[in-house]
Structure formats: structure tokens, C-alpha cells
């Protein structure tokens, strides 16, 4: 039996797929932590290097800050660096260089290993599934995998992902807190060396430094207002109460005993604490004169997302593996299934990577405030959407888009007329069709530039021509009353050729007999058009209508090149508005929310069309 040969192999395959899924989750978790540890080492090395250069800094200060984890290599090391064992950072004169290598901070306790809970869950899941597979191999062959096994596998993965996520989250938090504390300590050391407080913060290369007054307007540049406000609020509450706690608790294993100078400065160092602001956790340290703030691990995206994605992917893998194992008893079906999947994988991968993925990402972004370069998107829930509902400019853009869309029926009417007029195979007709079709395959940018000049008030061929003809001039693009209409005319000109070709294909599909029958029945040209052509083109008309409306809702190139939404927002259409919101004003969350609203509008319009058509088909 063929199936008998393949069965064990596929059973094992399912188990291997499950193992791979679990491993994927764990690898992602470990990867997050590793990159965070490297990041922390980088930050520390940067601080140490800055400290080195500070007056009173040098080797003592660096060792004071980092203890045994720092390796300092002088220029005599030949500039080759301290080797691959740790993150290295150059300090001192650019050439020759002093190298400060910082080993990643050691993780403490049992967390050093991979997340125990996660591994335990993974192992348990694997054991159960493997046991079942082994039992199955000996016992009577069942044709189906029980649902319970599939659920168990996916559940194991989900649990593993959750456990690994929690573990990673905790690790990252403690890492970032430790790094922030190191930053504060660097300031402390610099202060002890007699450096200016502001210098000290700067030297520590902390992204944010703040004068103690917190409301001095000239110095607010370094810290977002929300963070400043949060620090100001927290310094009353948290810091004052912890004033007795006068030293930063550093990693006990690594912090050397404070030197005398440090002890002196330590009195001036109040306490590190955290502040939640702008969607991220800021680790703040305060001395008498200065606040320093450092972003925590939120600087990179939360591990939860990556782990959830890995978990989902792993779950899919398991489902696929079990499905294949289930088909083992039907080798021909299995072969076909495998071949089909094999053929589908490239296309599916492309869709996931370039369509589905970005789509979900934009949905996620639309729930946040994000400027692309923000350390972390700030979660807003549906605030972006709510704000859009009362955003006048946005609705004006939607209104302009809807108005612009009115060019579609006009274009279709013209295209249909042209399609009928230019049917046939005569040379002149073929050339006419080609000429009419050309705008549809020409770059929008090129079309827009040419039309922009044609329609120029001052030098435009059209304006000048009209003036010569004594018809006066039209402010094609420079008046809010005419600009959108001008764009609509160009829009018509652009799509008519394509629509015409589609209509001709539709016309060719209408049997000549219908026209003959109608002629014999006494129908004239208009009646034949009305009773034969239009009904015969129904589906073509609908197709062109829907695709043109969708295309019209997505109009961008024309506006971008010709009017940039002006004059006075008269041609500000939805997609251009979204583009500006994202790339000019860097409001990606808003822009994503707009995109989704636009999608809903287009989807609703299309859906209504389909419903309408279905209803007519059902009743007609």
C-alpha cells in the first residue's frame, strides 16, 4: 500500500512542523532579547566614550561606570579594535582611536536561559503529539487526525508565544531600566568630575536632557512637551517622596564601590524613575540641576507583535502539517495537494508580503499616532477615526473626489459613442482607435505636465486659442470654480480610449443575430442601441463603471502634478490629501485612518452597485 509507506513519514512531518513552529516562536523571542542586549551595550559604550572625552573622564570614569564589562584598548592596539567579543566603540581623538568595548549586560538568574515556561509548554505539546503519533503507528490506522490534536498543537504554540512574550517583555524592561540607570550614573560621574550639568547630560549622549526648571522655553527643544509635563508632574509626586533613596541602584554585581567624588555627587542625585508619555516609557534620572531621560526598550516595537506574528505563522504551519498528514491515506490527493500548494506558495508569499502585510500594518498604524521616525507609535484607539469625522478638510477632499467621480458617466458615454463610431477594420479607424487609446498608456505625469502648459493662463495654447477665437479666457487651473472641472476633462480624455477598447470587446460579443432580429422587427438605429446594445453591454458597462469609479477615487497623479490640491483646496482629492498628511505632515496614523475610510467608501459604493445589479437580475 502506497499510503502505508508514506504514513509514518507524514506523521513525523506533522511533528516536525510543530517543532519548527515552536522553535520559530522561541527564536523570535530570543532574537528580540539579543538585539536589545546589543542595543544596551551600544548605548552604554556610547556613554562611556562620551565620558572618556569629558574633562576628568578617561579610563577611571569608564571603569567607574561599567566596571569589568568595559575593555579599553589604546591606539597602540593598532586600531584593530578589541576583537569580536563585545560591542566596541571608539573614543578620543578620531585618529588614532581609543576603543571601549562593552560586553552585553549579563542577564541575571534563571532568565539567562531560554524562557523555561515557554520551553516547558513547547516540550509538553511536542511530547503529547509525538506520543500520539507513535501510538498511531502501532495501533489501527485512523483516517483522520483528531481535532483535539490540532487544537492542542496550535494551543501549545499560542501558549508558548504568550509565555515567551511575557518573558521577553520583562527582560527588555529590566534591560532598558538598567541602561537608563547607567545613563544617570554617567551623569553622576561627570558631575563628580566637575562638569557642567548640561554638559554632563550631553556627554552621556542621552537623547533627552533638560534643565531643572523644566519650563524654560529656550531649552525645551530636546524633550517632547508631553514628557516634560509628565516629568514635572512626577517630580512632585515620585521623586520627592523617594528623596531619601539617594543613590541609583545599579547592578550589584558590576557596580564598584562609589568613589569619594561619586559619593559627593550622589548626594545630588535624587532617583531614577519612569514616566509614561507619548506612548513610551521614559526612564528619567534627576540630579539637583538636571533631568535626564532615556527611552526604554519601547524604542523598538514591542515584542508582543513579533511574537504574535510568529505564533500565528507557526499555527498556520502546524495546521498545514496536520492537513498533509491527514491526506496521507489518499496519496493521489496528497500529491495533487502538495503540487497545488507548491505552485501557490510563490504567489501567496507575494500577496502576504506586499498586499496583506502592508494592509494589516496600515490598519494597525491607523490606530496610532506615528510620525515614522517616532520611537514608538502612540496607541490612540479609534481617535484618529473619530477626529476625521469632524475634519472639514478631509470631508471637503472626499466631496471633491465624489465630484471628480462624476466624470466617469460622461467618459463612459463618450467612450461608448466612440466605440460604436470606430468599429471596423478600415485603416483610418484603426489609427483613430490607436490615437484614442494612447493617453491611457501614457505616464500620468507626462500627461499632467503637458496639460498644465496647455491650460496655463499666461502661455497656454488653449487659453490663447480661445482668446484668438474671441471667446475670452478661462482660468482653467487658477480658479476654484473651474480647476476641478478642468481635471475632470483631462480625466475623461485619459480614460476614454481604454473604456472604448473595453466597450468594443463587449460589442463584439453581442451576436449579430440580435441586431438582425431587431431590424426585421422594425427597430431603428436608436431602438437597436437602446434595446440590443445597451442590454448586451450590461456587464461590460458595469465592469467599466465600477473599475472607473474605483480608479477615480484613487486619482492622484493629475492633482499632484497639476494643482497640488489648489486653488484653495478645490482639487484636494482624497488620495492627494492622504499623501500630504503622510509625507508632508508626517501624520501616518491619520493618513492610514483616512485610507481606511476611503476604502470603506469605495467598498460601500461597489457593494451597492453589486447589490443593485443582483436585485435587478433577481427581479428582472
Amino acid at each position: 500500500m502506497v499510503s502505508g509507506v508514506r504514513q509514518p513519514f507524514l506523521d513525523s512531518l506533522a511533528a516536525v512542523v510543530l517543532a519548527a513552529g515552536l522553535a520559530l516562536v522561541l527564536v523570535v523571542a530570543a532574537g528580540r532579547l539579543e538585539s536589545a542586549r546589543v542595543g544596551a551595550a551600544e548605548a552604554e559604550a556610547r556613554m562611556a566614550a562620551a565620558l572618556w572625552e569629558q574633562e576628568g573622564g578617561g579610563a577611571d570614569a569608564v571603569v567607574g561606570l561599567l566596571g569589568a564589562r568595559a575593555t579599553i584598548t589604546g591606539a597602540d592596539a593598532g586600531g584593530a579594535g578589541p576583537g569580536p567579543a563585545a560591542y566596541a566603540y571608539e573614543a578620543g581623538e578620531l585618529d588614532p582611536a581609543v576603543w571601549i568595548a562593552v560586553a552585553p549586560p549579563p542577564a541575571d538568574g534563571p532568565r539567562d536561559a531560554l524562557p523555561v515556561t515557554a520551553i516547558a509548554i513547547a516540550l509538553a505539546g511536542l511530547t503529547v503529539v509525538t506520543g500520539w503519533v507513535l501510538a498511531r503507528r502501532r495501533g489501527p490506522t485512523r483516517t483522520r487526525y483528531p481535532v483535539s490534536i490540532a487544537l492542542l498543537s496550535v494551543g501549545c504554540i499560542a501558549l508558548t508565544a504568550v509565555a515567551a512574550g511575557r518573558w521577553t517583555h520583562g527582560e527588555l524592561r529590566s534591560l532598558s531600566a538598567a541602561t537608563a540607570a547607567q545613563g544617570a550614573r554617567a551623569v553622576q560621574i561627570a558631575l563628580a568630575a566637575g562638569a557642567d550639568p548640561a554638559d554632563a547630560a550631553r556627554v552621556a549622549q542621552l537623547p533627552w536632557a533638560q534643565d531643572s526648571s523644566l519650563d524654560s522655553p529656550t531649552e525645551q527643544w530636546t524633550m517632547p512637551a508631553a514628557v516634560v509635563a509628565a516629568i514635572a508632574a512626577s517630580s512632585e509626586r515620585d521623586v520627592e517622596t523617594s528623596a531619601g533613596n539617594d543613590a541609583i541602584s545599579l547592578d550589584a554585581a558590576n557596580a564598584p564601590a562609589p568613589t569619594a567624588r561619586e559619593a559627593d555627587a550622589g548626594a545630588r542625585l535624587i532617583a531614577p524613575h519612569t514616566v509614561e508619555a507619548e506612548g513610551a516609557t521614559w526612564h528619567v534620572a534627576r540630579t539637583a540641576d538636571i533631568h535626564v531621560a532615556l527611552l526604554g526598550y519601547e524604542r523598538t516595537a514591542s515584542p508582543a507583535l513579533a511574537l504574535a506574528a510568529a505564533g500565528g505563522l507557526a499555527g498556520l504551519l502546524v495546521a498545514l502539517g496536520l492537513h498533509l498528514a491527514q491526506l496521507a491515506s489518499r496519496p493521489r490527493v496528497l500529491g495533487r495537494t502538495l503540487a497545488a500548494w507548491g505552485l501557490l506558495v510563490p504567489a501567496a508569499a507575494l500577496i502576504v508580503a506586499f498586499t496583506l502585510g502592508p494592509l494589516l500594518f496600515s490598519l494597525w498604524i491607523s490606530l496610532h499616532e506615528w510620525r515614522l521616525i517616532d520611537p514608538a507609535p502612540l496607541f490612540l484607539g479609534f481617535d484618529n477615526y473619530a477626529a476625521l469625522l469632524s475634519d472639514r478638510e478631509w470631508w471637503s477632499a472626499i466631496g471633491n473626489t465624489a465630484l471628480f467621480t462624476l466624470h466617469v458617466p460622461v467618459a463612459m458615454a463618450i467612450a461608448l459613442a466612440l466605440a460604436i463610431l470606430t468599429r471596423g477594420s478600415r485603416r483610418a479607424l484603426r489609427w483613430a482607435r490607436l490615437a484614442l487609446f494612447l493617453p491611457g498608456i501614457t505616464s500620468v505625469a507626462a500627461i499632467a505636465v503637458v496639460w498644465k502648459w496647455l491650460l496655463s493662463d499666461q502661455y497656454g495654447l488653449l487659453s490663447r486659442g480661445l482668446e484668438h477665437a474671441g471667446l475670452g479666457s478661462v482660468p482653467w487651473l487658477t480658479s476654484p470654480d473651474t480647476a476641478l472641472a478642468s481635471l475632470m476633462i483631462i480625466g475623461i480624455w485619459m480614460v476614454v480610449g481604454y473604456q472604448m477598447v473595453v466597450f468594443q470587446a463587449g460589442l463584439a460579443a453581442i451576436p449579430r443575430d440580435w441586431y438582425d432580429a431587431a431590424r426585421v422587427d422594425g427597430a431603428g438605429p436608436w431602438q437597436r442601441f437602446r434595446h440590443i446594445t445597451v442590454p448586451g453591454l450590461r456587464h461590460t458597462l458595469f465592469f467599466v463603471l465600477v473599475t472607473s469609479i474605483i480608479g477615480s477615487f484613487q486619482v492622484f497623479g493629475l492633482v499632484y502634478v497639476m494643482t497640488q490640491g489648489g486653488p484653495l483646496g478645490a482639487t484636494d482629492v482624497a488620495v492627494y490629501h492622504i499623501y500630504r498628511e503622510a509625507w508632508e505632515f508626517l501624520q501616518f496614523g491619520n493618513a492610514a485612518a483616512m485610507s481606511w475610510l476611503l476604502f470603506v467608501v469605495v467598498f460601500a459604493a461597489t457593494w451597492l452597485h453589486f447589490r443593485f445589479l443582483d436585485a435587478r437580475r433577481a427581479h428582472g
Binding site: P511, D513, W514, D516, A517, A518, R519, V520, D521, G522, A523, G524, Q527, H531, I532, P535, G536, R538, G620
Partner: protein, 380 residues
């Protein structure tokens, strides 16, 4: 139906010719269809019969010549005004209209008052048994039902001439027979002129009062079914009409001036250098191997005209078709009574009913007079 029927219109073609560029679709021809007559245009595909019908309908314009319908020259008249109705092979029902609207379309186009329109549609539908289907669309009908709607659409307008463009070819065999009868009955009932195009000679012979056989854009013969069958005007008509097809053998003039070919030598000296002898299968008499003489139904007392080997016997129940083999007569078929006992491989003696055999000259034209065999032309 009587209320809507009226006498048919005559159709006359005079020197009608149709060319598409350099391609001649119809050579100049004359044809007269008498009022109330059912004329069938028959011929192989591409013979121009459909073009001719479309010329009459006005769907094509003739290159030259005149078309007269009901005593009126209609070359410049739109199809809708020619007082003709047409049934298409594809039926050409309007797919987005209900049966009722399909039926009424022509009347609507002519501005018929609503009440009259509805009444006539209802009558037609009743006559054709379409009453239940009036609100359906063509897509929801069976092939036969669609065919009836197409028929109804022509009938409802009560035209002077019905034009049928192969209306039966999309039906299965049984339905085709039934519909053929219905059309014949319809013609009897309405008495309207009908021109019926088909490529099926059986259909043509069974339906037509007169049959016009066409080939390669040329009218080959016009006549009653019997004339066309019994006195084919040329070799093409002889070969096209009749099933199984007529048996043929080419004859050449021998040194004594007689036409000879295969087992045959004709009696009379001929001026023709060559000719074709054609004999319908039923005009051959086969004598079984056990019988001394051929059973010549023509009353000939001679022994068989030739001997042949039986290749195959088709027993069709009511008759037998005996496929013969012999020099010059390979693929000849004879019709025989079911009582004849022959089997493949038998040597049989075959007699020709010379009274009913045909001789065609080198140009394919019928040679008048009955061919006679020379006396010594006995089997070899």
C-alpha cells in the same frame, strides 16, 4: 389563429447578385416564390442560401438585381418595412426580455396599441403553448421552447412572408421531426408564404412545396421535391439529394464510340467524350447467391447487369443496404428488401433499373433520354 392570418405575398428575385468585394456570394439569379408557397432553399454550407434569405429580408443589400415582395420593389426598403418575419438558427431571442416582451417587440417597434399588442401576444402564445412561459426569460427556457418563442415572434406580426434560417438545426433529432411537422401544419393553417433555408435535403424534400437547390452561389435546380429527386437537373443535385447518395460511375467513350466504364457499356453511340452514370440505390436489384436471376423490379427479364461482391450489409429493419464491391463500382449501395438473404463476401448479381437511371454529361448537366446498356454488357 384565423383572425391574424392572411394570404401570403409573392417574392420575386430578378438578376439578384451579391458580391463581398471580389468574392461572389451569389451569382445573378432569378427566383420566384409564389404567394402562399413554402419554398425550401437547400444546399451545402457556404452555398449562398443564407445570403439569399438575408437579401430577401433586407439584412444584406444586393450588388445588383431587384427584389420584389408582394408586387413591391423592396431594394430600398428597411427590413422592418418589408412585411417579412424571420426565424434565426440561433433564435436570436433578446436575452434580457421576457418571452412576452420578446413576442411583442416587433409590434412595439411598430407602435401597435397596447391592448392590441397584448391580445396578439396572448393569442400567439396560446397557439404555440407558450402561455405558461410568458414571464420567463430566454435563459430559463429549453431549446424547444426557445424555438417556439422564435416562431411566435415571427407569427405575432402576421407577416406576408416567413423567412426561416435553419431553424431546426439546434434541436435534437426527435424534436426536429416534430417541429418540422408543426411548421408544415402552420403553413397549411396560415397559408402564408414561407421561405425555409436548410442544409438537410431530407428536411427540404419533406417540407418544401418546391425546393431550390443551391451550390456555390448558383441556383442549381428549382422544382417540386419529386422533380428534384426523380429528375435531378445536374450531377450536383443528383448527388446532393437522396440518402444514401446516388451511385455514380464515370464513363468514357471507347473505340467504338460507346460510353463505357466499369461493368457498363451503353448501347447508343454518343457524341460525349465522357459522362457519368448515376443510379439511385433503390433502382438496383440484387439477386442473392441462391437465386438464379436478379429480381429486377423494373420488369427486366435479363439476368443481372453485373456481378459484384457484397462488402457489408446494413440491416435497417424496413430495408437492407447492401454495400457492393467490384471494378468501377466500389462503394455502390443498393437498397433491398429485408427478405433478401445475402451476407458479406457473397457474389451477387445486380440489375439496374435503366428507366430510372440518369446520365450526366461532362459539364454535369443532365442528358435527356434513358441510357441503355449494350446487349453484350453482361457481367464479367
Amino acid at each position: 389563429m384565423g383572425s391574424v392570418s392572411r394570404a401570403g405575398q409573392g417574392v420575386v428575385l430578378r438578376g439578384v447578385e451579391k458580391r463581398f468585394g471580389d468574392v461572389v456570394a451569389l451569382e445573378p439569379m432569378d427566383l420566384e416564390v409564389r404567394p402562399g408557397e413554402l419554398m425550401v432553399l437547400v444546399g451545402p454550407s457556404g452555398c449562398g442560401k443564407s445570403t439569399l434569405l438575408r437579401l430577401i429580408a433586407g439584412l444584406e443589400e444586393s450588388t445588383s438585381g431587384e427584389v420584389w415582395i408582394g408586387g413591391r420593389r423592396v431594394d430600398e426598403v428597411e427590413p422592418g418595412a418589408r412585411d417579412v418575419a424571420m426565424v434565426f438558427q440561433s433564435y436570436a431571442l433578446y436575452p434580457h426580455m421576457t418571452v412576452a416582451r420578446n413576442l411583442g417587440f416587433g409590434l412595439r417597434m411598430r407602435g401597435t396599441p397596447r391592448a392590441e399588442l397584448e391580445q396578439r401576444v396572448a393569442e400567439t402564445a396560446a397557439a404555440l403553448g407558450l402561455g405558461e412561459l410568458l414571464e420567463r426569460k430566454p435563459g430559463q427556457l429549453s431549446g424547444g421552447q426557445r424555438q417556439r418563442v422564435a416562431l411566435g415572434r415571427a407569427m405575432v406580426r402576421d407577416p406576408g412572408v416567413f423567412l426561416f434560417d435553419e431553424p431546426l438545426s439546434n434541436l435534437d433529432a426527435e424534436l426536429r421531426l416534430r417541429t418540422r411537422d408543426e411548421i408544415a401544419a402552420l403553413h397549411r393553417r396560415l397559408g402564408t408564404t414561407m421561405i425555409f433555408v436548410t442544409h438537410d435535403q431530407v428536411e427540404a424534400l419533406s417540407l418544401g412545396q418546391r425546393v431550390a437547390v443551391m451550390d456555390r452561389g448558383r441556383l442549381q435546380q428549382v422544382g417540386t421535391p419529386a422533380e428534384v429527386y426523380r429528375r435531378p437537373g445536374n450531377l450536383f443535385v443528383a448527388g446532393f439529394v437522396g440518402s444514401p447518395p446516388i451511385n455514380r460511375i464515370p464513363l468514357f467513350r471507347d473505340d467504338r464510340g460507346r460510353l463505357a466504364g466499369g461493368p457498363f457499356v451503353l448501347a447508343a453511340p454518343s457524341s460525349l467524350s465522357r459522362a457519368t452514370l448515376a443510379v439511385r440505390p433503390e433502382d438496383l436489384a440484387v439477386a442473392g447467391p441462391g437465386e438464379a436471376d436478379g429480381d429486377a423490379s423494373g420488369g427486366s427479364t435479363r439476368t443481372g447487369d453485373f456481378r459484384a461482391t457484397v462488402l457489408r450489409v446494413e440491416a435497417l429493419g424496413s430495408e437492407q443496404r447492401v454495400h457492393l464491391d467490384g471494378p468501377g463500382i466500389a462503394a455502390w449501395v443498393a437498397r433491398a428488401s429485408p427478405a433478401l438473404r445475402v451476407a458479406s463476401g457473397d457474389r451477387v448479381s445486380v440489375s439496374v433499373d435503366w428507366e430510372r437511371s440518369h446520365l450526366f454529361g461532362p459539364d454535369g448537366r443532365r442528358q435527356e433520354g434513358v441510357p441503355r446498356p449494350a446487349e453484350q454488357g453482361v457481367s464479367r
